[in-house]
Symmetry: C2
């Protein structure tokens, strides 16, 4: 479901949040799919249930999952809008990095090259 990297300086709960959000936004977990229970995932990852509880609370706050007391946690409907929002954020990050790169003297060719994979026009 998710993997924890203990060399990653980010807190565990954040890695869990990002991991599940990633699966949801990519469509790997369709809407209304049930995800592991708090205790299940804690067992699987060998971490404390409270840590998963915190991660799930954050995922619910973000609208990635919804909780049904006594039944479990499920992937939210309307992942599309979450995906769009996330793309906006990524776009803003890329824009900021591009501006910073230009400040340091990067050329437009470099910038386009960093985007990779398409429109490369190699000589």
């Amino acid at each position: 479901m998710v993997k924890i990297d203990y060399r990653d300086p980010r807190p565990i709960y954040e890695q869990v949040v990002d991991g599940i959000e990633d699966l949801a936004l990519r469509g790997a977990l369709p809407a209304d799919t049930q995800i592991p229970s708090v205790r299940q995932l804690a067992m699987e990852l060998s971490i404390n249930p409270n840590t998963i509880q915190r991660a799930y609370a954050e995922l619910e706050r973000r609208g990635v999952i919804y909780a049904a007391k006594g039944r479990g946690n499920f992937i939210s409907d309307d992942i599309a809008s979450l995906r769009a929002r996330r793309l906006d954020e990524i776009g803003a990050e890329i824009g900021a990095l591009a501006g910073r790169a230009r400040t340091l003297g990067a050329t437009e060719e470099q910038l386009r090259g960093w985007l990779g994979t398409k429109g490369e026009d190699r000589e």
Copy 2:
């Protein structure tokens, strides 16, 4: 010289490091320019000298400044290579974000648009 933003979740010493590195890489502080002493900058920013000490140690580790005991701290020569390295890092970040954006369904047009300012070809 540098400004601290207390709403910024990053530690103070890190903000100082990034601020001075930025000034150096942009060329705002030429090579061999003396920067404020540990105690001076601490006074100016109303923070503890130990925090500046830590920031300067990190800047020296990165090669942005060099220290001369009893005299002060100075901007390093060969800022050019540091700038190049930083641009490589930014390029890698942009590449990663671009890949992630494609995974979420971003179009090449979107990606180019996010780079901003040039080659927009607006209709």
